[in-house]
């Protein structure tokens, strides 16, 4: 069983307030409409990866910015947007039972003006932005917006705190990344299959690579191997697919479906022994492949001892995931829970519903249950 996070409670994070989710399972389908808070919940769970590392939350703040170099939003704005915007209180807080231990995370504080040496601002800025900053700031010391507060975290009864100051010119570049995670948590966004390496973890284990190849052969039976070769153009390591007829072809020449499957397989291996958060699992996969791909996700995550949280607003994807279980034969075990949220902004509170996969499956059969609502 890979139930590393048994339950969690998000007091405040983005638009979520007082959300309590219990009875988590190996595979947790987070279903719901757009803007129901699914991605926010995944992001909140990312905070458990490294509760004592401020860089973790700054990187988390940037996850929704597809390209930070093109984005007009600063890291500071993205960071401030992690706090609930519907209350005056600046507080992010959650707790969870994780690896059998109580873990809590609380970041609170206020926005204010602070004075910073312009040299420090220039050092922290991306080179491309430095000239415009020099033009904007005419004095040696500048008054800038900043968040000033405290991070209080507790792991298994050990409570610690540290001061946190994030100013308007802060970047994640150059910040120390604490590699010693409390729990291994990997996040796969809906576009990661086209924006980052999708094979590195697969290629490390030959037996796993063979399993992944069998899944790829669903799309094209003549795919033979996955390779990491030096690109002819720039000599950089590049992912290739060896094909019976086409020879070695860069992965980039293949369709999104193949890349998506590889990125899922890669992320499962990356999350080994921990938690995998998959946002919008159905992206780029045709529904006719759901049964095979979802069975692979379930089997591989059990093999790698990975607890999975999968968001989707696609009912076919939910049905496909439920079909990975054989509810006619398996009476006692059920690897799936289906979670949905309902926001009540008047209180404010986010309600959760956690149903077993069997409950959803039977109700889908019995009355076409619209589980996403």
């Amino acid at each position: 069983m890979a139930i590393h996070i048994r339950c969690f409670k998000i007091d405040h994070f983005r638009g979520i307030h007082n959300l309590s989710v219990e009875n988590l399972n190996n595979i947790n389908i987070v279903a719901g409409d757009n803007n129901s808070g699914k991605t926010s919940v995944l992001e909140a769970l990312m905070l458990l990866r490294n509760p004592y590392d401020v860089t973790n939350i700054l990187r988390l703040a940037r996850m929704r910015d597809i390209n930070i170099f093109l984005s007009g939003t600063s890291l500071y704005e993205s960071f401030i947007n992690l706090f609930p915007q519907d209350t005056y209180k600046m507080e992010i807080s959650l707790n969870a039972t994780c690896k059998g231990e109580f873990v809590s995370y609380k970041l609170f504080g206020e926005q204010k003006k602070i004075l910073i040496d312009i040299e420090d601002i220039i050092k922290k800025s991306y080179p491309a932005k430095r000239s415009s900053i020099i033009r904007e700031l005419t004095t040696d010391i500048a008054e800038v917006d900043a968040f000033s507060g405290e991070l209080v975290y507790e792991i298994a009864g050990q409570r610690n705190s540290l001061p946190v100051v994030i100013d308007a010119y802060m970047t994640t570049s150059g910040r120390e990344v604490n590699k010693k995670n409390y729990i291994n948590v990997a996040y796969l966004s809906p576009i990661d299959h086209v924006s980052r390496s999708v094979c590195d973890n697969i290629l490390r284990v030959d037996t796993y690579k063979d399993i992944c190849l069998r899944i790829l052969q669903l799309f094209d039976p003549e795919i033979i191997d996955l390779l990491l070769l030096k690109s002819k153009g720039n000599n950089r390591p590049t992912e290739y697919i060896k094909h019976a007829k086409l020879g070695n072809m860069p992965l980039s020449t293949y369709g999104d479906g193949i890349k998506k499957v590889l990125s899922l397989a890669n992320a499962i291996a990356q999350a080994a022994g921990g938690v995998l958060l998959i946002d919008e699992v159905e992206t780029a996969i045709h529904s006719k492949y759901y049964d095979d791909i979802f069975k692979f996700i379930v089997k591989a995550s059990i093999q790698f001892n990975v607890q999975v949280f999968i968001t989707t607003h696609n009912i076919e994807a939910i049905d496909g995931l439920l079909h990975t279980q054989d509810y006619e034969k398996q009476y006692n075990n059920d690897d799936i829970s289906v979670i949905t949220f309902q926001k009540d902004s008047s209180i404010p509170k986010t309600y959760s519903r956690v149903l077993t996969g069997r409950q959803v499956f039977e109700n889908r059969e019995q009355f076409g249950f619209e589980v996403r609502l």
Binding site: Y351, S352, R353, Q359, N363, E365, Q366, G368, F369, E370
Partner: protein, 241 residues
């Protein structure tokens, strides 16, 4: 909003659908995709959907007087707990020889935890907890047929037919005939309920002999029940669904 009427069998369901269509304007529609309750026709269950403006009405025959509880638990309870499916639920049941309180107690027990407050012929608000652990609301109506004496839906229909003086004589003779034949047909008419059905059957066979071999829904639809004062009185609250 979705509304629900539960009744004993398919015949009751057909009558109520006919009556509510004629008196309130509910017209047939296909089942909504997300609330397409599957019924077992072999067990005598039925489910028909109707529409009026933005509202939908489901009329279900549960497959017999003793199957309200199991039908509700298996088919309706999950829709209420997980989907807040119906804002109003009405039950129409034959009185037979039961007193009102025992009928109420029986429904309170078998419709728990959704329905806890029941009164005869009055819409009563009920609260329950849905699977989001939120408080949800449903109005409930119990209609016992007939309202004021022993009997069943057939009693009501015979009374409705008797509103016409010409047909009243036919009903009287049909009842007398069934009484007369009962001792020699006791294998078929050993219960009051069955005798009552026989009285209605004989009456209809005389009134509409050409429809003797038609399906029951065609027989029911042959009569202008919407003009009946007896039915209007019995179903005056149900019409508010």
């Amino acid at each position: 909003m979705n509304k629900l009427v539960l009744c004993e069998g398919k015949t009751d369901a057909i009558l109520l659908s006919y009556y509510l269509e004629k008196t309130c304007g509910w017209t047939h529609r296909n089942a909504p995709e997300s609330l397409n309750i599957k019924v077992d026709e072999i067990r005598g269950e039925s489910a028909f959907w109707y529409r009026k403006e933005n509202d939908s009405l489901l009329i279900c025959g549960v497959g017999g007087k003793n199957r309200f509880g199991s039908f509700f638990r298996e088919k309706i309870l999950p829709t209420m707990v997980h989907s807040n499916a119906f804002s109003k639920i009405a039950v129409s049941i034959d009185r037979d020889n039961q007193d009102e309180q025992s009928v109420i107690d029986s429904f309170c027990s078998s419709f728990r935890p959704i329905i806890n407050n029941i009164r005869c012929d009055i819409w009563v608000s009920n609260t329950y907890e849905n699977s989001y652990k939120q408080q949800a609301f449903v109005e409930f109506l119990l209609v016992i047929v007939p309202a004021d004496k022993e009997g069943a839906l057939e009693t009501l229909l015979l009374e409705a037919i008797s509103e016409n003086a010409y047909d009243k004589a036919i009903v009287s003779c049909s009842i007398a005939y069934v009484d007369q034949i009962q001792p020699i047909a006791s294998n078929y008419l050993h219960k009051k309920r069955l005798k009552l059905k026989a009285c209605l059957g004989v009456t209809w066979a005389i009134q509409y002999p050409e429809k003797l071999f038609s399906f029951v829904d065609e027989q029911i639809r042959s009569v202008k029940w919407e003009s009946s004062q007896v039915l209007a009185q019995c179903f005056h609250q149900l019409k508010n669904i």
